[in-house]
Amino acid sequence: MRIQPRQQLLEIWAATVRASWRDDRWHWGGRDGSNSISDAEQLLCLLLPATRVPTFKIDNPNESASEMIRVLRPLGNATQIPRVLIRVLTEYFTKYTDESGTPVFSGGSYFEVHHTGASPTGDQKRLDIVDSFAMSVTLSLATVGFLKVFRKTVTRSETHQEIDRLEQLASLRLSAAMVGLLRSFSVYPFDADSPEGQALIRTVNQGQLPERQVVAQLRSALEQTMASFREITIGSAQVLELDPTDRLFECGWSWGVVKDAPPIETGEPVGEQPKGLAQDAPYLYFTVIALDAIEDLFSERTRILGLLNEEQQRLARALQLRWELTRTYWAKVATFGDGPRWPLEDIPWRTTDQESSDYFTLLVTSLAVKGLVNDRGSDAELSRVGAVLSELANRARITRRTYEHDPALDLHSPGVRIQLVGSDQLGGPQLSWVVSDFSALLLQRAAVIARLLSDARHRDDVLDLADRAWDHLLLRRLAEGPGRSLWDQPDRVFDQVDFHYTEPSWYHTERVVHGLVNSADILARPPLRSERLAAMARDLLSEAEHLYDMELLSGTAEANPRLRESMYNVRVSLRRGREIIQDKPGVSMALALDVLLTLDEFEAARRDVTEAG
């Protein structure tokens, strides 16, 4: 692996602090201005590593590593850093709570309008968006977890009050974000002969089967998923008509609270639950974002630290059900059929609203991998997904050079435009959401797949892809200004892109950080164990042990101290070799070889005596 998560993350921390902390205060916003998502992303650049990578933890100032403190030095010393973070986090959570105490999840300056010279109205800018729900779940969990640990080292009541206040704010925002996610979930039913139905059939029908057969097979593959929809009793997407035999559907998250979504009854003081506007149909992009965030809700860390209160656990269970349904649905669809290739491998992916893009394929790979993990997907299946990623990297010119007027570059700059259908109901133009995180997302997914693979060769392939994506990302960092060493400057790798940015994009940087954190996860596990190496090591060890026993029998161990020391070292090596043979057969083999050489030196020397005699 050429990616070195620790060193790179340290560099990003230093750069984030340099860009954000000036004159003793935190400066919000970057290239795309300050809004509830960007500001959360900016904070997560620090908090994600701090809460996900054990060596980066800064929540216990007594134990945090000196390297981390050195990098965060501008914020203060080891004891001041957590307090400064608390101050900045409190600022974030208060900034995005309105006067009535309702958390705000608006997309603000991230909203764009396509072509027409119009700009979003004030009301539109205040629209809630799933991206913000998702970021808030991750940020709130990171915050609450950070406070849980930090609280133990605190003695002053003043600091305790600061912690209590922030914990309350974060927990409230978490509940509100969960409510938002529950109200943005969508199941979109359509008939097989509708345009949507036809598009879906075209995508999944890689075996060129008759249409009726495809519908029947698809329905039977999704039977369990459809049955489980009845369990949805709160939030959006209740009571659905999926029974007719030619009915198909899609499920996932829309861009915001869906039209006519009922409010959630909850004991948490989440404030007013706004009326939904969003089209009641899933969007691939928001589905992936939501699934990633929901995973945080039932991660090991969340459970061990007990980050959710009882009501939040209830909401989390409701979300988990949707998460299960969504990922099984997409895994089934992406890998459907016995045809020569999966629908996923038919690049680019076409959505049911007739759009196609490599970016959608990348999003579907994320969903497919989540499904495969659950079904204990084999290495063969996972490496097929890896191959798709590898082709996507080629097509997106991450691992290939560009040619003139290369349309592939639109993926990176300006990015893929997603129309937010329904956003014009408050007046004003229809909004769109532009996503250009292709490279960073590719790195994230490659790292996830590499961690899951247990075959060394397949894993090397995917790791190599991750490394190449990383090389590409490294080149795209800003070269100067306060945001130097942060992302994103696509014109540094693509000549024909002529946007030049001076400020960092927290949207991109957070995704890169996420990718690096995923890569660090790979290194949290012992190396892959090769059966071949283990067998060889066992054989070598038993030969070495036998030779050693022969030496002992001949009395070498009672000889002069030098020789005895040598024999003692042999014994120690053999014992260590046996101990580690399960985890590190390669090392075990090297120890055995060393022993064999030493013992052979004695043997060869003695032979000289017999020959001369």
Binding site: P61, N62, E63, S66, T79, V154, T155, T159
Partner: protein
């Protein structure tokens, strides 16, 4: 301000570190005095190179003062009486540097009310005269510790500010012992509370100083084998966690002093001359003393979490 210097075990470098810190403090312009309360072995004179008080004084030191033998303990002006040329003559801008030695052949004595009263009176007098009064106590639990805890709990000293420094080396045993000395049975906190101190105020006015610290990442260790270095790093991490558990963690550390040959072999004051002209001492050591001298009186450095 009164600073009490104590340590868990002997050989931590408590006296030599606190003398050096006080010396830097004087160089920074404060009027300071040093009280040798290590009655069992009053050797502060040797650190300051005071020839007639190498092992305590015979002309009425702190011990006999507390015992009531005379009304005023002897004072030695270090700038005037030191035998070391580089300590002679107060540098321009420096404050007073005064040593109150112990008596030679002193020895411990029990805590009586009179002792405590005399001790409190002395502290009050010195507080008026000096910016920093550093009281060097002996290692471990001692009568001297008890006397000063009792004295500072008295009503007349209520307005006087005091702080405690506990010196310990950066090893498992010393970390455990330092924690025990503060929080353990008959430790500083328990004894203090018995004499009427408030637990919170006492613990908040108490910090640790790590001495003879070897930084596992320092370039000076390049002579070691890679395996030794890997081991050292793991040990250091292990110690960090132990210290955190034992309430001796970083948040309660006021400073740490690196291992320095001059401190190790000669136990002397390190002058700027030693660092810059003769190059026998390390610059980092003096920087550590300088920073400690500032931090002992800097309120922000004493803020707790």
């Amino acid at each position: 301000m009164l600073i009490f210097a104590t340590s868990d075990k002997g050989g931590t470098g408590r006296s030599v570190t606190s003398s050096n810190v006080l010396y830097r403090s004087a160089l920074q312009g404060s009027d300071v005095c040093y009280l040798d309360f290590d009655f069992g072995s009053p050797t502060a004179g040797s650190i300051f190179n005071i020839n007639h008080a190498l092992r305590g004084t015979t002309r009425g030191g702190l011990h006999s003062y507390l015992d009531g033998a005379h009304g005023e303990p002897q004072r030695i002006d270090v700038w005037a009486e030191s035998d070391r040329p580089s300590l002679r003559d107060r540098p321009p801008g420096a404050g007073r540097l005064v040593l109150l030695p112990g008596d030679s052949g002193g020895g411990e004595f029990p805590t009586t009310r009179e002792n405590i009263e005399r001790c409190a009176r002395l502290f009050l007098r010195l507080e008026e005269e000096f910016d920093v009064t550093l009281v060097d106590l002996s290692a471990g639990r001692s009568y001297a510790t008890e006397i000063v805890l009792a004295a500072t709990a008295r009503a007349e000293l209520r307005s006087v500010r005091w702080r405690w420094l506990v010196f310990h080396r950066w090893t498992r045993q010393h970390v455990l012992a330092a924690s025990g000395l503060v929080h353990g049975q008959r430790g500083i906190v328990e004894t203090g509370i018995r004499h009427g101190h408030d637990r919170t105020r006492l613990t908040e006015s108490l910090r640790f100083v790590r001495t003879a610290v070897v930084d596992p990442d320092s370039p000076e260790l390049e002579g070691l084998q890679p395996a030794q270095l890997a081991w050292l790093r793991a040990c250091n991490q292990d110690l960090l966690e132990l210290a955190s558990r034992e309430r001796v963690g970083r948040t309660l550390v006021l400073g740490s002093v690196p291992l320095d040959p001059v401190l190790q072999w000669r136990e002397q004051l390190i002058s700027d001359n030693d660092v810059w002209a003769r190059r026998i001492a390390n610059r980092e050591t003096v920087e550590a003393f300088d920073s400690l001298a500032k931090r002992i009186v800097d309120d922000t450095a004493w803020e707790t979490l």
